[in-house]
């Protein structure tokens, strides 16, 4: 962690070259061309700090947590619980016991749907989501609605890709028990007005879960300022390992929830007559956890905070603006999702070329983009397209890479004579 050092008295210096040096995965050729990795919304490359943290656990501290009296186990436990503190600081939670480690944002949403919502929802109750949601913030709610007889309501989006707040407000009523919305849309980059949504939901007594998988790598998160009840993050989208994520939950709500899974580590004592559950947060962490992944996630959070999320966001917005300007020069390009201030996601379609063909040809130029429906089929349906090409930028992308993207798109159009 030696990049982008800043002092409190100066404008944050963003040393892009040093940042890129931190990511070994960036420095390779693909089909003979330098890699331009523009698929960060799918998963991000990993800095050496994360890779070393994971390696360090396996090389020196490979032991189980919360069990052993021996030194390695104590070191592993210390590192695991330190990571909880790092995530607590990353989302600005009041207490570390409000951070539960999970497999990813998807598991966090499922945990809340099954452990918070399922015991409380009754027929006639409602869950409100938005049209922007990733499938992982749709399907768990469909499942719990089916299980309980509650109804799923969906707040629509406008032509730019912003949630229609008038309808959102109209859909809220005393029947609404849970509001589940993305902080940032994965398919379009739209940043939802989360604090306002929470305020409106509070007014009808609903709890709010925010899916922050796409927000964590781009903007500072302050769960207390936002006022959310639950907040889900995903490790691999924020430069950490795959298979690990975290759920923030207000302690009072988590306390009142039954455990989600049973097993080791989540219990205080077990007999065949009665089992006493462990206290927070371990009540929700059954079984040996993803120890190395958790330690890597902690390192990722620390890396992001060291660079500064404001500085990262400012850099990414420069890159996005340049990419938007370059693509706007190409008449066959139609940008999908044009809400001002969106996160660094550029979704677009090309007249006369299917996104998958464009993706294959861009790959041949060393440019990695995502093509498809981005696990957000309702968003695609809303814009009347089967799929989009999505370039999503991260803290290490350069303006020069967006020039290559524009040139790559021109090459695609040339191949297809479009």
């Amino acid at each position: 962690m030696n990049a982008g050092t800043r002092t409190s008295t100066e404008t944050p210096a963003y040393d892009l070259e040093a940042v890129r040096h931190d990511f070994p995965g960036l420095h390779q050729k693909v089909h003979g061309e330098p890699l331009a990795y523009l698929d960060n919304a799918a998963t991000a490359q990993k800095p050496s700090a994360v890779i070393e943290a994971v390696r360090g656990h396996y090389e020196r501290d490979a032991a189980n947590v919360h069990r052993g009296v021996h030194t390695l186990s104590q070191r592993a436990t210390q590192a695991y619980e330190d990571a909880r503190g790092q995530i607590q600081r990353f989302v600005n939670a009041a207490e570390s016991r409000e951070i539960v480690f999970v497999r990813g944002a998807t598991e966090a949403v499922n945990l809340i749907a099954q452990s918070y919502a399922r015991p409380r929802l009754r027929p006639g109750d409602e869950v409100l989501i938005s049209w922007l949601e990733h499938h992982s913030n749709i399907v768990p709610w469909q499942m719990v609605c089916e299980q309980t007889g509650a109804a799923l309501k969906v707040a629509p989006i406008d032509d730019a890709g912003a949630v229609d707040m008038e309808v959102f407000e109209r859909l809220l009523s005393e029947r609404t028990k849970v509001v589940a919305v993305a902080h940032v849309s994965n398919a379009l980059g739209t940043v939802n007005p989360l604090a306002r949504m929470v305020e409106l939901a509070r007014g009808v007594g609903a709890v709010v879960l925010a899916d922050g998988a796409q927000a964590a790598p781009h903007l500072p998160i302050d769960v207390r300022a936002l006022g959310v009840d639950f907040y889900a993050i995903s490790g691999h989208k924020m430069y950490g390992p795959t298979g690990i994520g975290a759920l923030y939950g207000r302690a009072a709500l988590l306390e009142a929830m039954p455990p989600w899974q049973g097993g080791g580590d989540m219990i205080r004592s077990v007999s065949f007559e009665k089992t006493l559950y462990h206290e927070l947060p371990w009540k929700f962490e059954a079984g040996t956890p993803n120890i190395a992944g958790t330690i890597g996630l902690g390192a990722a959070a620390e890396y992001l905070q060291h660079l500064g999320l404001e500085a990262i966001g400012a850099h990414e917005h420069r890159v996005l603006a340049h990419a938007q300007a370059r693509l706007a020069e190409i008449p066959q390009v139609r940008e999908i999702g044009t809400v001002p201030g969106k996160a660094a996601v550029l979704s677009f379609v090309l007249d006369g070329v299917h996104p998958h063909d464009a993706g294959t040809i861009l790959d041949q130029h060393g440019i990695a983009v995502r093509t498809g429906h981005h696990c957000a089929e309702p968003v695609m349906q809303r814009f009347g397209v089967p799929a989009t090409i999505r370039a999503s930028f991260g803290l290490y992308n350069t303006v020069a890479e967006t020039d290559r993207l524009a040139a790559g798109v021109q090459a695609v159009l040339e191949v297809f004579g479009a």
């Binding site: 040809i361 041949q364 297809f416």
Partner: protein, 149 residues
Amino acid sequence: MTGRNELYQEMILHHNKAPRNFGALEDADRKSDGHNPLCGDHLTVWLKLDGDKVADVRFEGSGCAISTASASVMTDAVKGRSTAEIEKLFRSFHALVTGQPAPDEDLDLGKLEVFSGVSEFPARVKCASLAWHTLQAALHGDAEPVSTE
């Protein structure tokens, strides 16, 4: 930038732009829908049978260049052939696009050979084979839509 031109051959681009046998077949005996959820590709294949032979075949749908061109070339290739001949053709085509050895050395794939480049692009094999799976479902009279996922 190796491989790009091997995939997007002139003939593929041409069939994508001006697909053959495109549009519904009015007096079809069989119809089947295919879907590739990964890409969002949809297509419908209609068949008119004459005994065991495919007397006519048409398709309609939206998809990438590989899936559209594959459907287009396929319709030309199977017209007038028997079910057994089409099965053989599909086995050989599938081996071609997945880079497997040809199951039937003597079989001439004709224009279908243009898809040999697909074997270098494992993510695109489903695009090339969607039309064929859908055709098979139509031949077997399957009611359920075909999905390549």
